[in-house]
């Protein structure tokens, strides 16, 4: 009987544990996924709220109105360039752009989630004047408006699809983000939409590209962690590195680099050295470095829906591992993520959480949400970060592959990449530049991606000049960009 009582107690404890699990899982999933569940397009509550509430305004960091509602109609900026440049961040009228501010922040804009006092206030106000919350973004409308123009200034990137992300690497605030092709939500016609290549797609957050040589940042970090004296070793590049009978790594244009240090290999973006490094490190070490840089992680940022980057876990042949060293073989990342990797290097190894919302205020002016930074993850040690930063300095300022991004009065560091992929059986190349300004008075990271570049062109020739324009604009408008009060 005594033993039986003991077993009864065990069963009771088992049931209690199950209920504890229920409670903890419920709280965890609602706090982590709640806003994503709520803002899903199929939520009938939002449609109902739209009938009763006037959608709130969207402002940029200086208080410029980016979207407002007048007589039931949504009004975006008055300048056509501004409307087009920010259409992917803000959203279009028909909700075709997924996870834009208009859809992802609908709970705030329609005042669905508010404090108790606000709920009472809303109930007391006659329904025809009920207004949602005002959402202030971290964006700088001036920079964001001219961003697509920088692509058009250079013949190699003009008219191409692509994406650009600019963020403050200390706070994670996204200052500008654009996706090309973009369109003016006020004047766009169905024929325009049909003629553009996936215009509703926010390529900065939701397009997964092979990172190519920009991934060498991660491979270098893994190598420096695993092999402490790696900087004093030398490598031999013969232009090709046969991995198996069917696959050999080639350098761009089959250049032979000769004897190189790791620093030289990074500066000149030598694939052979990085392929051999990947094979030496092994798949597990490289994957674990990639995962600490955010690959294979479920990004649950508060303000942005960013698709998850991946470092494949299955089907890992030696060919694939070698190609992973320079960011090929089914590795994928978004431009926002590659920008975050630069931000992490600039920030001493801590990747900030990207933020898009500065504040949310009710129509009556009380604060619902105010800005707070939170570091997303620690990606590498301080020492490795400063070493990576100095290697990225060589790329831009030491005559490396990114020299076209250099501006003498700034301290620009970065990494270029030329990624290969095939689309419908055709080879397609992507040009990357991800980098940052190391001066503390202008703590900005930039990532530029250009799709489908001509054969023979590289990230250094296509994307670096666009990045240079962005940095130049930032330098000329430094006082405006970093002021935060509207």
């Amino acid at each position: 009987m005594k033993r039986q009582r003991h077993r009864f107690k065990m069963i009771a404890l088992f049931l209690f544990a199950l209920f504890l699990l229920l409670g903890l899982y419920g709280v965890w999933s609602v706090t982590h996924y709640g806003s994503r569940w709520f803002s899903y397009a199929g939520n009938p509550r939002l449609a109902a709220q739209k009938e009763n509430v006037v959608e709130g305004d969207i402002l940029d960091r200086h208080g410029t109105v980016l979207a407002s509602t007048d007589d039931g109609r949504r009004i975006f900026s008055s300048s056509p360039q501004a409307r087009a440049a920010m259409v992917h961040v803000l959203g279009d009228r028909n909700g075709m752009i997924a996870n834009s501010v208009e859809t992802f922040q609908a709970g705030y804009l329609y005042g669905y989630q508010s404090s108790l006092s606000d709920a009472v206030h809303l109930l007391m106000t006659p329904s025809d004047v009920r207004k949602g919350n005002t959402v202030t973004l971290t964006l700088d409308a001036g920079l964001n408006t001219v961003l697509p123009g920088f692509f058009q200034l250079h013949p190699l990137s003009a008219g191409k699809n692509g994406a650009a992300v600019v963020m403050n690497y200390l706070t994670g605030e996204v200052l500008a983000m654009t996706s090309l092709p973009c369109f003016d939500p006020d004047t766009v016609t169905d024929a325009d939409i049909a003629s553009l290549d996936h215009p509703f797609w926010n390529r900065a957050t939701q397009a997964l590209y092979p990172p190519g040589s920009t991934f060498k940042i991660v491979t270098s970090a893994a190598a420096m962690k695993a092999i402490p004296d790696i900087q004093s070793q030398s490598f031999e590049c013969t232009g090709t590195l046969p991995v198996s009978e069917t696959f050999a790594v080639h350098d761009f244009n089959s250049v032979t680099h000769g004897t190189l240090s790791l620093r030289d290999a990074f500066r000149r973006s030598c694939n052979c050295v990085y392929a051999s490094l990947a094979l030496k490190l092994g798949d597990d070490a490289l994957r674990s470095a990639a995962e600490s840089f955010g690959f294979n992680q479920n990004f649950l940022f508060r303000d942005l829906v960013v698709y998850n980057s991946s470092y494949p876990v299955s089907n890992r042949t030696f060919d694939a591992i070698a190609a992973s060293g320079y960011g090929q073989s089914a590795l994928t990342a978004t431009p926002v993520h590659m920008c975050l990797i630069s931000a992490a290097v600039a920030n001493g190894g801590t990747m900030p959480e990207p933020r898009l919302i500065r504040s949310v205020k009710t129509a009556s002016g009380s604060q619902v949400l105010s800005f707070s930074t939170a570091s997303a993850r620690r990606v590498c040690s301080d020492e490795i970060a400063s070493e990576l930063s100095s290697m990225m300095k060589d790329v831009v300022q030491g005559g490396g592959s990114g020299n076209l991004a250099d501006i003498p009065s700034l301290d620009i560091r970065g990494k270029t990449g030329t990624a290969e992929s095939s689309l419908n059986g055709e080879k397609i190349n992507y040009a990357w530049f991800t980098g940052f300004n190391a001066q503390p008075e202008l703590p900005v990271a930039v990532c530029i991606l250009v799709e489908n570049i001509p054969d023979g062109e590289t990230g250094g020739t296509v994307s670096a000049p666009v990045a240079k324009d962005v940095f130049m604009w930032l330098k000329n408008n430094i006082s405006q960009v970093l002021s935060s009060d509207p």
Partner: protein, 409 residues
């Protein structure tokens, strides 16, 4: 003795609960301007009063257990009145019948001394009842577990729960392993044929836990667990509806307009409630398919918030705790196992459905005890509470006899 009963949990708490329901129903009645709402605002607190205050005068009942089950039943009626008044009237009637059935079950436990004569006919009737839907059942939500007798339609598996608990407890107390095993397996097979996987899982867990609690043999319990796992794997490979359930659980968003629609709508409802809920009568709970039964927990979370949802979980925990302590203080093996079986069945059923709604485990269509719409389910849940109360009142009488004898001695 009466002093002790007055102490826990206090008439004042019951008064607060009654006031809460009076105001809640009144609020909705004014909003809907419906006469039935005013009637409910009086009737439901009255039933709570009768259920928690009158019964302890008749038997030595556990007041906490009574208050908790009455609170949950009334919560069900309240939610249903907001979302679909017609369901609420039926539910209120079932609540009344359930309270009477609970009294009958208490009397049954107290007065039947020869269960042997009852158990065999009970088993026969149970198996017949479970076989009926297989032959003439009507299919709802993918399972063929309802039968219609003229105007009344009911779910035999809910009724059989009661005889399952009685007969398993009796067999175990007499160490009759072969009939125990045969009856359990036959029930499970019939439930599988009805495609009622949720109930099958409940029966299986109840049988297994009762066996381990009384026999304590790790080897046979292990074999039972392995057998259950084998059946689960077989079911997954054999039945497409099982595979579909698992696929929906893994990613309801993949096909959120069809297969995953219900789960996704439930999650949206929970998310839109936030921590404190949108408020009684507000929100759009009726957008969730089967909001009145399987997904009533999502409705509770949307209207009253996640914190209240967790309080509801705590109420079930308190209920389990009382049930287990009644089982532990029982003098007779049969009584102890009867109370334990009823508690395990109620507790596990709650976990299975709330876990399914929160997407912690694959969704299986069982009801949330006391709260979900459904007469058979509500009545059988209150009958299980009746069993626990019956055993509890027997314990009290035994204790009283002891003190009496001690005083004589």
């Amino acid at each position: 003795m009466s002093k002790k009963h007055n102490r826990t949990p206090g008439r004042r708490l019951v008064a607060v609960v009654m006031l809460f329901y009076f105001l809640a129903f009144l609020l909705l009645a004014v909003r809907k301007s419906s006469r039935e709402g005013y009637i409910l605002s009086i009737a439901v607190p009255l039933m709570i009063f009768l259920g928690t205050n009158l019964l302890p005068h008749m038997f030595k009942a556990d007041r906490l257990l009574l208050s908790l089950s009455n609170f949950l039943c009334a919560l069900g009626v309240l939610i249903l009145y907001d979302t679909n008044p017609a369901y609420a009237y039926q539910q209120a009637v079932s609540y009344g019948i359930g309270l009477l059935s609970m009294v009958i079950c208490i009397l049954l436990v107290r007065s039947v001394f020869s269960w042997r004569l009852l158990v065999w006919p009970l088993i026969l009737i149970s198996l017949l009842l479970l076989a009926l839907p297989v032959l003439w059942g009507k299919e709802t939500n993918g399972a063929k577990n309802w039968i219609a007798l003229g105007p009344v339609s009911f779910q035999p598996s809910e009724v059989v729960k009661l005889s399952l608990v009685i007969s398993l407890a009796w067999f175990m107390s007499r160490r009759k392993m072969i009939p125990w095993l045969l009856f359990s397996v036959l029930c499970l097979i019939l439930l599988m044929l009805q495609k009622d996987l949720g109930t099958a899982l409940l029966y299986y867990m109840t049988a297994l836990m009762l066996y381990w609690a009384s026999a304590g043999s790790m080897i046979f319990t292990g074999i039972g667990i392995l057998g259950g796992c084998a059946a689960a794997v077989y079911g997954y490979n054999q039945f497409s509806h099982v595979r579909r359930r698992v696929a929906i659980w893994l990613n309801p968003w993949a096909d959120f307009e069809n297969a995953g629609y219900q789960l996704v709508q439930g999650l949206m409802a929970i998310a839109s409630g936030g921590l404190f809920g949108v408020g009684l009568g507000l929100g759009m709970p009726t957008a969730i398919p089967v909001y009145e039964s399987d997904f009533i927990f999502a409705v509770i979370c949307e209207q009253f918030g996640l914190i209240f949802g967790i309080c509801v979980l705590l109420m079930y925990i308190a209920l389990i705790w009382r049930g287990v302590s009644v089982a532990m203080s029982a003098r007779r093996s049969f009584h102890s196992l009867l109370a334990m079986g009823s508690t395990v069945l109620l507790g596990f059923q709650t976990f299975v459905i709330i876990g399914g709604v929160l997407k912690l485990i694959p969704l299986t269509g069982v009801t949330m005890p006391f709260v979900s719409y459904g007469g058979t389910s509500l009545i059988s849940s209150l009958c299980l509470i009746g069993f626990i109360q019956g055993v509890g009142s027997m314990n009290e009488s035994d204790l009283e006899e002891d003190t009496h004898l001690a005083m004589l001695g």
